[in-house]
Symmetry: C2
Subunit: 264 residues, 2 copies
């Protein structure tokens, strides 16, 4: 048994850790089941800014995992909750798509056009267009408007090759206006991680953060002061591990081929 | 009569100098007529990356100006010609819209999908979408592909407010990949200005560069070593003139309220 199994809580990244795209990573799914059977507290943290918790819960149940919506800490949800905690129910214009809009509404926000909005929320959108970018640009130029972004990811590795992440929109707006978001909620930033700790009801010292990307997951874990486990079932591989460590200047506490190796 | 009228050639910016949007600036149009009547050589240089020369020629004839397509040095045309001069007829994937595609084809290039292309040409597109951005991203990630951009403008002042310029796409790609274009053809870069000089058949010392933006037009004029005239009929106004000079660190040789003042 791995020494990390002494920890009470596990914050698990999704893509590259539990699944790849919509497909499960089978030994990892088995490991999640065992963790829950052992009474460990488990939450799933994802920078996906286009899905709601409901969609992820359905997907995980399809893997045979008996999970609850409350265990799904997506950046859509974390962003919506954080804005509610800081500013109450707000009038929001978002670049994002259905999953983000669903979570923003569930948190009590009104989704309005940009001229009526107090807060711009940038999230990825596969339906992004010139009109949405123009509205986001005009909000950015207005210093009286608040500007949140779900996550900073620049490129997302999809099944048929790299596609733009939320960072495409953040970068375009920065290039045009010189303005960065007032707050980015996703990993490696701490908003989403603090939400995960709050949901677990645990201190960072009782928790392991597991992910497949050093500059995203390991960095996020280190920022909250938790132990970090890097798995080589996603973006980081045995081949590029040393390069990734060198480039980020960060060393995970543990490295395993995949999550199932916790039990070998 | 203004001392600039001793010069043989005039390189005129379009928007904010001769017209505003589709409307003419009447005293400026009259001044252009007088310049041509005096036998001055005149070309129009624009960073507009969505129109062909044909469209601009029609618009100018509507103003009552007897102009020829060859006098229209748009960044669409300058980019298409420059690529032909450097690489011959090429296989190009472009983010741009109809006007750019028209000029690329006229210069002998083939417009193909990104997997077939050797050169990425970024131009603005009011129909920009996730699919186009994904293809441009993938070409940028491939170091064997050349990458040209029509112009660097980050924001374009439209009639109903600011809209994204070509720079939105350049900035998004830079943010995602760390890659800037191998060559930007529009002002203040020199590709388009050299094309204008070549068309005039004149040396820079015989020419005046006229524009409404210090960091675009005046800078472009200074880079080729021509005299520069800033007009206050567009982006730069009497109110923001000092700020614009300070911000850019550039001082135009002459400043006039509008082009018509050349003859007062």
């Amino acid at each position: 048994m791995h020494s990390l199994l002494e920890k009470k809580g596990f914050i698990l990244d999704v893509d590259g850790v539990v699944g790849k795209g919509k497909k499960p990573i089978k030994p990892a799914v088995e490991a999640v089941k065992k963790l829950m059977d052992l009474g460990k507290k488990v939450v799933f943290v994802s920078n996906n800014s286009t899905r709601s918790r409901r969609i992820y819960t359905e997907r995980f149940r399809g893997y045979g995992l008996d999970v609850d919506e409350n265990q799904m800490i997506l950046t859509t949800y974390a962003t919506a909750e954080y804005i509610r905690e800081k500013h109450g129910g707000s009038r929001i214009f978002t670049t994002g798509e259905e999953g983000l809009i669903e979570e923003l509404k569930l948190a009590g926000h009104d989704i309005v056009d940009y001229t009526e909005a107090d807060i711009l929320v940038v999230g990825s959108n596969r339906g992004i267009n010139f009109d949405i970018m123009t509205k986001a640009l005009r909000m950015c130029l207005d210093k009286s408007k608040l500007y949140y972004a779900t996550n900073p990811d620049r490129i997302f590795p999809s099944e048929d090759g790299p596609i733009p992440g939320t960072g495409m929109i953040v970068g375009a707006l920065y290039w045009m206006t010189g303005r960065m978001p007032d707050c980015i909620c996703g990993k490696p930033e701490t908003v989403i991680m603090n939400k995960a700790l709050e949901t677990l009801g645990l201190e960072a010292s009782d928790v392991v953060v597991v992910g497949d990307q050093i500059d995203v997951d390991v960095e996020a874990g280190k920022r909250i002061g938790a132990k970090t486990l890097l798995v080589l079932s996603g973006v980081t591989t045995e081949e590029n591990l040393e390069e990734m460590i060198e480039r980020s200047g960060l060393k995970p506490d543990y490295v395993l081929e995949h999550l199932g190796k916790l039990f070998e």
